[in-house]
């Protein structure tokens, strides 16, 4: 096959491309430039698309002896991922930008262009398995990325090759080292790539400005503190609340909800975060199934898995959880699994204790 390998400059995509080359495919590499003003050097596990990453990616391509190009997707990344991220927080929701990047950039902008240019599929270093059209968890459950790929359509998956799903991260690093790839020991990237200093609240404050409002205790209804912007708070958050009035029961307080119009952040005790019923919209199916459906649901990347029953509702699903989930925020993805197989995904709109 004629394959387009997306090389981030990290170890996973490097080994994925190496597998594709060794399997005898005709492989061309691209590095996606997602920042219009890339930093020169990478700092630790944060940030992405520095010139150093681009160089690392090009050196991988050199070693694999495959053509290498840089595709400038900074404008689309800003519009589809960063602006959406800010808008979601401004609306009191909790987005997952990696998932949106997969959906809009890697498996839409890049895949569409690759197919149009005559490639058969795109190769990425995601930790997940594709077999017979089914998307499954990686054998390395700590590194599994099936959750952030679950938003893809069957058509997108048909144009995707994921060589790493049956390898653990340790094996990937060992393979990179055995192949002489200099990125073998490069730190894993985590955090949000476009917030280089890791300060999400600061990033949002810069974009949205100060929007002060009250922090209200759910039990007493009393104002127990203030904030500079409700967008800086996420359901389930405990740290950084700066409450001026101690909780009446003396127990820790967590963010229960964020209401952007009145700029109200509601806090309460931990058990008030527990929900057993979730409403989700915009469902997308990767496997055939009929509702109601008994399966499992995962509500955040690397989060817990809950047994559930999925019921059809007018604009999506109602999920009845067998065990309560904590800290479910609107905007997160609810991904349905049957064991290690991804069935569908949808966007959380709300939840209740049922």
């Amino acid at each position: 096959m004629k394959l387009l390998a997306a090389l981030s400059g990290g170890v996973d995509s490097a080994v994925a491309a190496a597998h594709a080359v060794e399997a005898g495919h005709d492989v061309t590499a691209v590095h996606l430039a997602l920042s219009s003003s890339p930093a020169t050097l990478r700092s630790g596990s944060r940030g992405c698309c520095s010139k150093e990453d681009a160089r690392d990616a090009s050196r991988v391509a050199d070693l694999l002896d495959i053509p290498f190009y840089v595709w400038d997707l900074a404008d689309r990344f800003r519009q589809d991922v960063i602006d959406g991220f800010v808008a979601e927080y401004a609306a009191g929701r909790t987005p997952n930008p990696c998932l949106r990047c997969n959906e809009k950039i890697k498996f839409t902008a890049v895949l569409d262009r690759a197919l149009a240019l005559g490639f058969d599929a795109v190769v990425t270093g995601h930790h997940a398995r594709l077999s017979d059209g089914d998307l499954r968890r990686s054998v390395d459950l700590d590194k599994d990325q099936s959750y952030v790929l679950a938003v893809l359509t069957p058509e997108q998956l048909a144009g995707t090759v994921l060589p790493l799903g049956s390898l653990t991260k340790t094996q990937v690093r060992a393979e990179a080292s055995a192949r002489g790839l200099a990125v073998a020991d490069k730190p894993d990237s985590h955090d949000i790539c476009f917030i280089a200093d890791g300060d999400t609240a600061g990033f949002l404050r810069q974009r949205l400005g100060a929007q002060p409002g009250p922090v209200v205790d759910a039990l007493s209804g009393a104002v127990v503190g203030g904030h500079d912007g409700a967008y800086a708070y996420t359901v389930g958050q405990r740290r950084g609340l700066a409450l001026t009035v101690p909780a009446p029961d003396g127990r820790p307080r967590y963010v229960l909800s964020v209401e952007p119009v009145t700029r109200t952040v509601t806090v309460g005790p931990g058990e008030a975060l527990e929900v057993s019923e979730i409403r989700a919209s915009r469902p997308g199916w990767l496997a055939a199934a009929e509702l109601p459906l008994t399966c499992q649901v995962q509500l955040r990347a690397h989060g817990a898995v809950h047994d559930c029953v999925v019921h059809a509702e007018a604009d999506g699903w109602r999920l009845d959880l067998a065990t309560p989930a904590r800290g479910v925020a609107p905007g997160q993805a609810a991904v349905l699994y049957d064991g290690d197989r991804v069935l569908a995904s949808a966007t959380v709109e709300g939840s209740s204790s049922g």
Binding site: A33, P38, A54, P67, Y69, W71, D72, R113, L117
Partner: protein
């Protein structure tokens, strides 16, 4: 394999390879720092000085006007910053730079640096749709206040679209007001007649690898009476303007290549013009909506080896990738260190919109180009353009 990217780097001439090889081989037995006083040093110095004379003679300059550097970029930086600093030191009011809007980044970014770090003011002189700077535009810019101008810098010929500037007339205008004039002639030497003495330019940049010499060596031809503050301080080589031990083999290779390039210039111009005209006609026949950017065919003010097109609906990046896969090597005309193609400031200055700028491709011919290179391009181009058009411009596909 068809190499159509001579404007990026052209193969070394065999004579230059032989010269460099001889000089390197000599270094096996005699360690020669051209600044040393012993026999080995004298030998290296002799090579350097004969190279200086050879290069000066080829370009109508005096040997003392040749400053060897490490690249065209270094020469541009030295000229722009060095002359600006010297002019300001002599008269603090002289901080304004007049530069064409289509300069190479080596000039453009040096000027921007002076503006952002040293308080320079800049007039980016607008060009016409063909990329030419009208000398009257320069005159009007000077006339706004002749007493505050530090220098004028206008390239001899543009690296992207190949437009040749009316350098003689521009220099005349600048000299009416006693203003120093620098020209980046990296693309011009060997393709066009370049006579430093004849046109009176005060500083002129050239680079080895654009004219058949080695990579990693360039020169600034700097008039004897032009004050220039050095960028590099040290041993005082090169008239105290550019310290650093010279790369003797590279300097020798540059001089031989420049000398031959100038000697063969008229013949090369005639041959490449014909080949380029053929390329343009065949590209337009193969892709009827392809738009030739810059100076129209049949007019003199274009580099003989340059053909620069916009292919509507295609992204230059896509065309490059597809042609590369077919063994045809071209350029989108502008690249930065991260390899990210940006809409060209040159095309934007010529009035192109961003889409047209992003859909452009440069074919550039040189001394080793043949009809077979053009054949190879024209054979694959229609299918490549067709495919790239289907991949589209991302902004149009949203």
């Amino acid at each position: 394999m068809a190499y159509l990217d001579h404007a990026a780097s052209t193969p070394m001439l065999p004579e230059a390879v032989a010269t460099v090889t001889t000089a390197l081989t000599a270094a096996l037995s005699a360690a020669g720092n051209a600044s040393s006083l012993h026999a080995g040093g004298r030998q290296a110095r002799r090579v350097v000085e004969e190279s200086r004379e050879q290069l000066a003679s080829a370009l109508g300059a005096r040997p003392s006007e040749v400053i060897f550097t490490g690249s065209g970029t270094e020469s541009d930086n030295l000229a722009v910053k060095g002359i600006w600093w010297a002019r300001r030191a002599a008269d603090p009011r002289r901080t304004r730079i007049l530069a064409s809007a289509v300069e190479h980044h080596a000039v453009l970014d040096a000027v921007e640096w002076l503006a952002s770090h040293e308080g320079a003011s800049v007039d980016w002189l607008p060009v016409g749709v063909d990329g030419r700077l009208d000398p009257e535009v320069l005159r009007a810019a000077i006339e706004r206040d002749p007493s505050d101008v530090a220098l004028v810098t206008v390239m001899w010929a543009n690296n992207e679209v190949g437009t040749v500037q009316p350098v003689h007339q521009l220099v005349e205008v600048a000299h009416e007001y006693d203003l120093p004039f620098h020209s980046d002639a990296v693309q011009a030497v060997g393709q066009l007649p370049v006579d430093v003495g004849g046109c009176g330019v005060d500083a002129l940049t050239l680079a080895g690898h654009k004219l058949g010499g080695p990579l990693g060596v360039g020169a600034l031809l700097l008039g004897r009476d032009v004050e220039c503050v050095p960028l590099l301080h040290g041993g005082g080589q090169e008239r105290d303007v550019r310290s650093g031990t010279l790369d003797t083999p590279a300097v020798a290779g540059l001089a031989v290549a420049a000398s031959l390039a100038v000697e063969r210039q008229a013949e090369l111009h005639a041959r490449l013009s014909a080949l380029r005209d053929d390329l343009v006609r065949r590209v337009q026949a193969a892709v009827p909506d392809a738009v030739l950017n810059g100076v129209p065919l049949g007019q003199a003010h274009r580099l003989p080896g340059n053909a620069h097109f916009s292919f509507p609906g295609c992204e230059g990046d896509s065309l490059l990738l597809l042609l590369d896969a077919k063994g045809v090597e071209v350029s989108t005309g502008s690249a930065c260190s991260a390899g990210v193609a940006r809409p060209s400031h040159v095309l934007l200055a010529m009035g192109a919109d961003e889409q047209a700028a992003r859909s452009s491709l440069r074919f550039s011919l040189g001394h080793s180009s043949t009809r077979a290179d053009v054949d190879a391009l024209v054979e694959v181009l229609p299918s490549v353009v067709d495919r790239a058009r289907r991949a589209g411009l991302p902004a149009l596909r949203r």
